[in-house]
Point group: C2
Chain length 137, copies 2
């Protein structure tokens, strides 16, 4: 999660909503990315989406059955929907997203996927707060 937070800080420094993601398999990082929706002018360029594509590319197969995603913010409907298709083993996220997160939106994950929340949540939430405070100035 520390590495995902570093990715989120990279997004912050580019003026992107600071979300970072990392995918790990057998203790090895195989993908890491941060939100690039502004730079790429693309609503699909969330950190998770990029990491899913990169991890599948690394593995040479589209399923991420033995992988764990670490992401600083609770995934949205789109990212949770992509994670559903990927059959990922585990999702570990930091801060909750009450408004746009998949839990309150009711998005279904794959039955084999387990979820852990709240890991370094304060650090992730602080980064988000700092971002929106600076943007309001």
């Amino acid at each position: 999660m520390k590495k995902a937070l570093q990715e989120a800080e990279m997004a912050f420094s580019k003026g992107e909503i600071p979300v970072g993601a990392v995918i790990v398999v057998a203790d090895k990082v195989i993908a890491s990315s941060h939100n690039l929706t502004e730079l790429l002018n693309d609503v699909t360029a969330h950190a998770e989406m990029q990491s899913i594509t990169a991890a599948a590319n690394f593995l040479g197969g589209k399923y991420l059955k033995d992988c764990t995603l670490y992401v600083t913010l609770e995934p949205c409907q789109m990212c949770a929907g992509a994670l559903y298709w990927s059959q990922i083993s585990k999702i570990v996220f930091g801060a909750r997203d009450e408004q746009r997160g998949f839990m309150n939106m009711g998005t279904k994950l794959h039955p084999k996927t387990t979820v852990v929340s709240g890991v370094m949540a304060n650090e992730a939430a602080d980064l988000m707060k700092r971002f929106f405070l600076e943007r309001r100035k």
Copy 2:
């Protein structure tokens, strides 16, 4: 929708689940694509996702507020989640996807988005049936 069906047929000929999508603004096609999840080894390579990215790229902005998406099959959670972020004006789809479509899955669209279903639904459903029949052989 005819053009979206042509895209779906292109997917079929490549051994991909036959779904095609087209995005139109002011009667002009600005993006067209078909499912490429197998070829790209990427669960995120649905027809709709590619068209959303291509249309935003064409427009030079990430929002598709004045656009209409034509897609042969009801979008899934991931694609509906991406369409939510895009604030697309209208979604026109062909065949229902009772199992994995966004309607039964409960994915929320943007409040400004309208949905029309059942356009050339038989043609789209026939193509899907033919694909899965051939794959079972």
